[in-house]
């Protein structure tokens, strides 16, 4: 039987030492300055023009999508939306550092990662309208994306639940011997949930190749981070779990890209978790149900608007000669058009037939669900006008 000594690495002191905050001083990785000029001391990661264009294009597309969808919600065309304006770099930059076989388990504000993976405008619209072409069959609210082909796990609303799940998913990848990691996104608010604690600790102990990426955007709905935790952000917790940790400027897509590359490298090589804290700011309202003017100042927002991640990266590209103003204008215009025309087109796609109300509860519907469906269909047939979305296709 192995002899264990849980004191082996611990030194002695003979005075009452109170360890407190401020001990760690975790700096934030920034490569590009706000104006897009690299810091003198910074070593930029390798990046091709093509990759840079994809990153910028994705960030710009997402910004447009957000604008249009918020407007569509105001017009009553969709019931709900949730924008990531101001945070595009955290999710697009990190997704760009991954491989397609890596699993993405996200919270809900990571449309950037999804778009980077190749989710199309049409697919976005299908989800928003909960229609029958949506692979999740329209069962959840708008923005709860999920698509197996892109290794993007279907989102669920309960916060934090994906964190231990990501540890388990990554453990499975490791056991299967895959050359793949899992990335798990969450907000600094969600990091208060017990599941965060469970997920990080288990990943550390069970050595799961998972990247935890916390978007610390200063708010959880109306709750500012100073009422969410008293420590030094989320990064300072990594040490406690024995999880390697990187803090990064979430508005600097280059820094996020570099940090995530490094994290993936470590996670795969050492088969262990890495925590990234991306410092950013939610410029948008929490969702279309929210109005931030009730809890924060315009000045504060303005200060952050000046740190726009999209502009910063565009400026850098410009300095590289990779940015054509005219072409970009065209791209933006086309994207806007595409969103609008897809929106219009998809609006008309019907929802799933009523039979789908009972599928996927189990692999095969058991007797009680079949009975309930039969009753329901008979009822709809009796009152077709009351259930117009399904009565036409019983």
């Amino acid at each position: 039987m192995k002899d264990r000594n849980h004191l082996s690495n611990i030194g002695l002191s003979h005075q009452v030492n109170v360890i407190s905050n401020g001990l760690l001083d975790i700096p934030m990785l920034q490569l590009l300055q706000a104006d897009g000029v690299p810091h003198a001391q910074a070593t930029l990661p390798d990046m091709t023009q093509q990759k840079a264009e994809k990153i910028l294009g994705t960030m710009q597309f997402i910004r447009i999508l957000d604008e249009r969808m918020v407007a569509a919600q105001r017009q009553g065309r969709i019931s709900f939306y949730l924008a990531c304006t101001g945070e595009e770099a955290s999710t697009v930059g990190s997704a760009a550092a991954l491989e397609p076989q890596d699993m993405i388990m996200s919270q809900y504000r990571e449309q950037g990662a999804l778009a980077y993976r190749g989710f199309t405008t049409e697919q976005f619209m299908d989800q928003m309208f909960s229609n029958e072409k949506e692979p999740n069959k329209g069962r959840q609210m708008p923005i709860h994306y999920g698509v197996k082909e892109l290794n993007f796990m279907t989102i669920s609303s309960p916060l934090g639940t994906q964190i231990p799940q990501a540890s388990g998913y990554a453990y499975g990848q490791k056991m299967a011997g895959l050359d793949a990691v899992t990335i798990c996104y969450f907000g600094e608010g969600a990091a208060s949930e017990g599941d965060f604690h469970a997920g990080l600790n288990m990943a550390a102990v069970l050595k799961c190749p998972v990247i935890f990426l916390c978007r610390n955007n200063g708010y959880a709905i109306s709750t500012p981070s100073e009422e969410q935790f008293a420590g030094d952000g989320i990064a300072s917790r990594g040490i406690g779990y024995g999880v390697k940790t990187i803090r990064v400027d979430g508005n600097d897509v280059m820094a996020v890209y570099a940090a995530t590359q490094k994290a993936r490298e470590i996670a795969l090589a050492e088969q262990c978790p890495v925590l990234i804290e991306a410092m950013t700011y939610r410029l948008a309202a929490h969702s279309t149900s929210d109005d931030p003017s009730g809890y924060r100042s315009k000045d504060e927002e303005e200060r952050w608007r000046a740190k726009d991640p999209v502009q910063r990266f565009a400026a850098w590209m410009q300095s590289k000669g990779w940015f054509d103003e005219e072409q970009n204008k065209l791209f933006l215009e086309q994207s806007r058009q595409e969103v609008l025309s897809e929106l219009k087109r998809v609006e008309k796609v019907p929802i799933c037939k009523i039979d789908e109300i009972i599928t996927d509860v189990y692999d095969v519907p058991p007797w009680h669900l079949k009975e309930q469906l039969a009753e329901l269909k008979a009822h709809i047939a009796k009152y077709p006008d009351a259930y117009p979305k399904t009565s036409g296709r019983l």
């Binding site: 669920s156 969600a190 959880a220 109306s222 969410q228 009730g294 929802i351 009680h368």
Partner: protein, 325 residues
Amino acid sequence: MAKMNMLQAVNSALISAMTKNEKVMVFGEDVGHFGGVFRATSNLQEKFGKNRCFNTPLTEQGIIGFANGLAAQGSVPVAEIQFADYIFPAFDQIVNETAKWRYRSGGQFSCGSLTIRTPYGGGIAGGLYHSQSPEAFFAHIPGMKVVIPRNPYQAKGLLLSAIQDDNPVLFMEPKRLYRASVGEVPEDDYIIPLGKAEVLKQGSDISLLAWGAQMEVLEKAAQMAEEQGISCEIIDLRSILPWDRDTVATSVQKTGRLLISHEAPLTGGFASEIAASIQEKCFLHLESPITRVCGLDTPYPLAHEKEYMPDHLKIFEAIKRCVHF
């Protein structure tokens, strides 16, 4: 008296309770300065200070754990869970702690002063995670009380009762009615007793039983039935645990028929307990099987929400089936 919607009624009850008893504290996610995502706690922080109305970190198990300790200490916590769908991380603290605290300590300590408020229910395009009606889970927890109001007047009176009551109460608010239901509400304090159902309408052919937002639906169905000459007795259960079996049994002994409706899935829903008890209590009076009109045994779907819901048409049909058994 003033015209209030249900949110205003809840807010008014909280103001009353906090004014009368400085031990009352209100907390939860976003309930502080912002007043909660539905604004049920508006202005409380302004009025009573940050120590008595405050935001918590985003952790339901923490909120209820904290509230349990606070209650055991002798304070009067009113904890908010932002949506009933998010109460499950706190389930252990409720089942194993809140509800068992008094019993395990032989009455030395208790969480009796705790009230947990949470919006529940469907009909707002909320899909799987903004629509659930989890009352049945809590009705299987000895030591808890579970209360659901149907309108603003009931909300204020029952909430004030819940806060005063020396037992932990889960107070579930039908969020679909938050702004939709408006009525006269006294500005002064009043209480409506817990554990008592209310017969809203006398009738002779069938007893209809529900709670919360489902009362409206029941009334609409009853109206359709009345037009066909079926006389309906309508009962609002109000308290799910302990529930008022006598009022229901008395009604069923008169009408000989019972229909129960809730939004939650049928299997294992609270209608099953009522049906099981009443078939036993009223066996010789029953003229047709007790009927349940409930949610389907599926998660709560978005696109098929309309089809999923136990609406007035489904209830109307069931009433007819029952009466013509």
